[in-house]
Symmetry: C2
Subunit: 329 residues, 2 copies
DNA sequence: ATGAAAGCGCTAACAA
DNA sequence: TTGTTAGCGCTTTCAT
C-alpha cells in the first residue's frame, strides 16, 4: 500500500506538496500538481483515512442510538439520517441498545474514546444524570426522545398533542369509555402522550379508569392478546388509544376472529401511520408523525454543532402531529 | 483530554508501561499496575481509539451495503448483523446505495481508504467486474445477493427453490394460468427465482405467458395497481407468484375493493413472511426466508476472514426456503 | 519487569 | 510556491 511518502518520492517533491494537492490547497503550480497526480495514479495511491483522522482529530462518523433497527419507526429515521450523513461526507454507525442500559453506556463510551464525532440519541435507557457527562466529548442531539434536564438540542414531536387529539377524536365520536395502552417503558415521551390523553378526558368531564390503562403492550401479538382480554372484561371500554400502529393492527386482526365489529363494537386509534395502517380492513385511524422531518432536522442540528464548536445551544424544536381519520373509528 | 503521556508522568512510569496495562499485557507488577490505574482514574483517561487504530492498522468497523434500510427485509438483516458486530467489539456502518451505482462505488472507495476493516455486500448495483478490484483491500462477504464470478464467501438463499416451490404450490392447487411479478432489477437472484418458477411450470407441461410476467412491481401500491390491471385483462391469470409480501399485500387489499375473492377468484403467493403476512385477510401464503440465519452466518464468515487473513476462500452456503401455506391460496 | 526510541501516515506551522 | 520539521496518541521492538 503506497503512502504519501512514496508518492512524494516518485514525483520528486515533498510530502507537503502532495498533501496540498490531496486537500485541494491553493498555491500549488499546475505543473507540480500534474506531477503529483501522475505519481498517485501510477501507485494507485489513496490517502489512509485513519492517519488523516488522527491528524485532524475527527472521524467523520456519527452514531445514532436507537432501541432496534427492525422497528419501522426507527428504520425510516435511520434511512433519512444516513442519506443526510452521506451527503455531508459522514458515515452513520447504527447502535442498537436493545433496551439495555448497559449497551447504551457501551456506545456512549465509544464516543468518549473518540470513535464518533457526534451522537444522536433517539432513545434513552439511562437516567439523564448518567448521560449528562458525555456531552463534554462532543455534540449530542436528541431526536424524538427528550428530557427536561438535557442542555442539548432536542428535535421532537409534540406527544402531549398526539395523546390529546387521539382521545379528542374518540370523544367526538361519542365514546366515553376509552382505554389507553403503551409499551413497557415510561419515558418522558410516553408520559406526555398519556397526559395529553388524560387531559382530553378531563376536559369532557371524564376520568381515567385504571383497569383500562394497559401497559406492556407494544407488538402485534400484544395487540391481539389485549383484544382477547378486553372482550372478556365485565366492564369493558368501547374504544382504545393504542400509541402504536402495530398494536392497533393486532387488535383489529383479532377482533375479526372474535367477531367484534370495528368500529361499531369497538373503535381503535393507532400511532405512526405506518404502511400497514392502509392495509388493514378496516383501515386504521392513526396519528401521523413527521418522522422524516425530525430526522432531517436532527441531522441539520448535528452538522450545525459540528461546524460551529462551542456554541452548544439548548434549542428545542417541537413538531405537530396530526390525526388521519380512516375506518377504524 | 489526557493522553497516555500524562498518565505516564503522573504515575512516574513510562508510556510503555501504561500501554501495557491498557492492553492487559503480562509482565507488569501489580504494584505498578495499581499506580497506573490510579493515575488513569485521576485524569479520567481514556485511550484515543483513532491513535490505536492508526498504530494497529484497523478500524474495528464493518460496512454493510444495502439498497435502503427501511425495507423490512434489510432492517431485520442489519439488526442481526449489528448485534453480532457489537458482540465482537465491532461497529457497523450502514451504507444505503439507494439503488445507485455511484453511491455503491463511493462506499467501496471508503473501504479502499481503510475506513472499514471489511465490507458486506447485501446488494450489488455495479457489474462484478467493477467490484472485483476492491477485494484486495480486505474481506468482502456477500449476503443474499451473489455472482458466479465472485471469489468471496457467499451466504445465500436458494432462490431457484423459492420460485419452484411457490409455483409448484399453485399448480397443486389446480391453477394453470399463473402470473409472475418481480421488481425493476434483474439480478442473479431474481433471475434464479424466476427460473425456478418457470421450471415448475415446464414440469407440468405449461409454458410461461409473456403478458403475465410483470416487472417493475415492488411496493404495496404497485401491487394494488397490478390487481387493477389484471382484472381488466381479456385473458387473465387465476394466480400469481409475486416475489414480495408487500406486493402480495397490495394485491389482496385491492382485490377487496374490486370485489375479487381471494383465493377463490385469484390466488396469491408472497415472499418473505413478514409480519404483515399474518395481518392480511385472508392471511398470506408466502415463502419464508431465514434472513436472521444468513445474516448471522455472514457475520461469522466475516469474523473468520478478519481473524485469519489470507485464507480467503470461496465458500458458498445455500440455505433452503420453505413454503408457509395460509389462506390466500 | 521496565524503558528508550522508532514509527504508523498524515497535516500544518513556519521558514525560505 | 515549495520544503523542513514537528507532532497527532498510541504500540512495539529491542535493550536492559
Amino acid at each position: 500500500m503506497a503512502t504519501i511518502g512514496d508518492v512524494a518520492k516518485l514525483a520528486g517533491l515533498s510530502r507537503t506538496t502532495v498533501s496540498r494537492v490531496i486537500n485541494h490547497h491553493p498555491y500549488v503550480s499546475e505543473e507540480k500538481k500534474a506531477l503529483v497526480r501522475q505519481a498517485m495514479n501510477e501507485l494507485s495511491y489513496v490517502p489512509n483515512s485513519i492517519a488523516q483522522n488522527l491528524r485532524k482529530q475527527v472521524t467523520k462518523t456519527i452514531a445514532v442510538l436507537i432501541p432496534r433497527i427492525s422497528n419501522p419507526f426507527f428504520s425510516v429515521m435511520v434511512e433519512v439520517m444516513e442519506n443526510a450523513a452521506a451527503e455531508n461526507g459522514y458515515q452513520l454507525v447504527v447502535c442498537q441498545t436493545m433496551y439495555s442500559k448497559e449497551r447504551e453506556l457501551v456506545y456512549l463510551n465509544l464516543f468518549k474514546t473518540k470513535q464518533f464525532d457526534g451522537v444522536i440519541l433517539a432513545s434513552i435507557e439511562n437516567d439523564w444524570n448518567d448521560i449528562q457527562d458525555y456531552t463534554q466529548y462532543g455534540p449530542i442531539v436528541m431526536c424524538n426522545e427528550y428530557d427536561d434536564r438535557a442542555e442539548v438540542p432536542m428535535i421532537r414531536l409534540n406527544q402531549f398533542e398526539g395523546g390529546y387529539i387521539g382521545a379528542k377524536h374518540l370523544l367526538e365520536r361519542g365514546h366515553n369509555k376509552i382505554a389507553h395502552s403503551r409499551g413497557n417503558h415510561l419515558t418522558n415521551l410516553t408520559q406526555d402522550r398519556k397526559d395529553g390523553f388524560l387531559y382530553a378526558l378531563e376536559e369532557s368531564g371524564l376520568s381515567s379508569h385504571d383497569d383500562w390503562m394497559f401497559t406492556g403492550v407494544s407488538k402485534i401479538e400484544d395487540g391481539r392478546q389485549l383484544m382477547r382480554k378486553i372482550v372478556q372484561m365485565n366492564h369493558s371500554p368501547t374504544a382504545i388509544f393504542t400509541g402504536s400502529d402495530e398494536v392497533a393492527a393486532g387488535i383489529i386482526r383479532e377482533a375479526k376472529v372474535l367477531n367484534v365489529k370495528i368500529p361499531n363494537d369497538f373503535a381503535v386509534v393507532g400511532f405512526d401511520d405506518q404502511p400497514l395502517a392502509r392495509l388493514m380492513e378496516p383501515t386504521l385511524t392513526t396519528i401521523y408523525q413527521p418522522i422524516k422531518t425530525i430526522s432531517y432536522q436532527t441531522m441539520a442540528a448535528m452538522f450545525d454543532m459540528l461546524k460551529n464548536p462551542g456554541k452548544l445551544e439548548r434549542q428545542t424544536i417541537d413538531l405537530s402531529l396530526h390525526l388521519i381519520v380512516r375506518e377504524s373509528t
